[in-house]
Symmetry: none
Amino acid sequence: MDDTKSRLLDAAGAIFAEKGYEAASVREICQRANANIAAVNYHFGEKRQLYVAAVREAQCAQTMQLKLPRWSGELTPEQRLHQYIRLMFETMLASNRPSWHLELMLRELARPTEACEAVVEDYIRPMAEQLKAILNDLTPGLTEDDRWPIGFSIVGQVLFYYVHQPIIRLLIGQAAYETLNVEALAAHVTRFSLAAMGRPAGESSP
Amino acid sequence: MDDTKSRLLDAAGAIFAEKGYEAASVREICQRANANIAAVNYHFGEKRQLYVAAVREAQCAQTMQLKLPRWSGELTPEQRLHQYIRLMFETMLASNRPSWHLELMLRELARPTEACEAVVEDYIRPMAEQLKAILNDLTPGLTEDDRWPIGFSIVGQVLFYYVHQPIIRLLIGQAAYETLNVEALAAHVTRFSLAAMGRPAGESSP
Amino acid sequence: MDDTKSRLLDAAGAIFAEKGYEAASVREICQRANANIAAVNYHFGEKRQLYVAAVREAQCAQTMQLKLPRWSGELTPEQRLHQYIRLMFETMLASNRPSWHLELMLRELARPTEACEAVVEDYIRPMAEQLKAILNDLTPGLTEDDRWPIGFSIVGQVLFYYVHQPIIRLLIGQAAYETLNVEALAAHVTRFSLAAMGRPAGESSP
Amino acid sequence: MDDTKSRLLDAAGAIFAEKGYEAASVREICQRANANIAAVNYHFGEKRQLYVAAVREAQCAQTMQLKLPRWSGELTPEQRLHQYIRLMFETMLASNRPSWHLELMLRELARPTEACEAVVEDYIRPMAEQLKAILNDLTPGLTEDDRWPIGFSIVGQVLFYYVHQPIIRLLIGQAAYETLNVEALAAHVTRFSLAAMGRPAGESSP
DNA sequence: AATGAATGAGCCTTCATTCAT
DNA sequence: GATGAATGAAGGCTCATTCAT
């Protein structure tokens, strides 16, 4: 890929993720990308399409990174759920994330624009399928339609810690917030969800 | 309250909720409020403070509206949890809502600005206290600190349906999405959560 | 005089003198005068007329203050010139001046508006007459018309120290500037001017 | 230099000189320069910097124009002083001046802003040095510090005719004012100043 | 292929002023 | 007599975009 174009995409992603579409300015993006002010329109036509491209880029990067480890086959469904949940937390909370990818996608999913559908189809749905596969093994008696709410209940718990970080921080205090860690959160959500599905807990650690 | 000022607040709330702070323009707000362009500056000093005032207004309105029904005393904890959850869904999904109140607050909570803290303290924390009181009766053996994650798991499930509406709609299809209703969703989340806490379900309907 | 009106006049004079007509805002003036924003238009009709009134006020105050001491009769013309010059310096440089009066008038005289003519007639011309009377005695052989340039040469020297303060400060340095004092400056200008008129110096001290 | 930028500078200088910084509007400047309203921001960043640039421009133009004729060597100090004074008057009063250059600089020097220091150092000080050199020859017995006041007395006389034009016009009447000319004024100030320094006059004409 | 110059619409804010009370 | 509310014009500035090179 063209060097300038790629730098532009990277700068745009970071700034869109940080400030949102409206508050981000083409000038600022070009500046951070060390590109000419006219570069955005040259390479992407207009600001809107730069945004779409940035979301798409984020999506690709995320998708690749989020490949769940090939189940070693001998893992129990409980262990696989635990892994799945921990991976979500890791992705969301890991501070070493290059970083704007997830932020940008979640912005998009909460306030959908034209880029939303692609994200769902290319990124969200595959992940949902994986989760459904796990739930398949955990709740064999349920129909397809009955499994959606369970998946939403699980994913909702996890995303809450990401989307509503500021609430949590204010409610439990900064000190307590800092003690939160991926392992503990994943253990809690896994235990909570397995119990909700009538599964004995305690043996989910892989 | 002054008429123009109040009209301004209402228009601002609606537009801020719809488009976000940056994308909303003072001109547009004044136009919708049938007020002069200088009225914002006169009554609120600047755009930012109009936003803060609008959030505060939303909060007041919400708080009043959200008074949980006085528990009739003889309700079981399970029934009270069910009521609590249903009330959240009603508040969020009721289409007859005049409006922008909740939308604006959730925007604020996901992307906190200076108005966030007030919302948490005045609106969120009281609600959290009510939930904790219910959990107190449901999980007598737990410490205060251990109850936070449970509360978050419950609230996270509910908010998911609001914040990530577009994902759900795309994942399960528009048709299926329209069949969702407050009653069913509340029942699911309640059952899921009670089971997670090791409580026999089925008797929570008030 | 009305209290509010008088406070308004005082505040206006100070701010006009400090910032000039354009840069001064009616709001700021009313604020400093503890008056309502509508007070200016109520008392003076419009900003311009408030300015004119302030200049007039300055002029009155100056005129009263600037009354030269009645010559004791037995003073020589040289001594009277010395007194005249020293009085100008005192008026201009005295730091205890209530202070915006002169500033405002000089602004007006350098950039004349409609208020200029009145200032000249009521304030400047009487002073010029006094100076001419002195010069009359010092240069008996000259015609009226020939005495104007001499007066201008004297007054020009004095005003230079006021109008072009910043140049002087930068040219000779802040330290040297601070050693300047009314007495020394008056002595210099007097000596210089008397010599220019062919008068022996050294006996002008009153 | 760029065409638009230079037209902008010229228009700005003229308008700033005429009305002062505050009263001049960017819109008006752009209009006169046949430039877009955004051009100021593009080329100069903000109004303030356009002003500074205009002052600097004026200064350059003045400096070049004000090169004193190389003394032919055989001129007496008296003749050189006469030339110096006449040149000042010519610069100030010549009606064929393209213009706003001097006006703008004098505005700046009377109400110094951030641009003042540069004007003094680059324009005023060199001129002051030239004058000091002349005074050096005229008053050999004096110290450096004693020569400043003499220089100020000379320059003050000249500037008076520029800065306080309106006073003069009103005092001596429009008719008399129009008879004033560079030659006569320069002759007067020269004679006055030479006499003040104890120099026989009458032979200063070059 | 890429850019510096330039555009015009629109931004938020502040202005002096007026009006109803 | 005096004021708080409200007005509309204009302020400086920034925006995404276009154009000629």
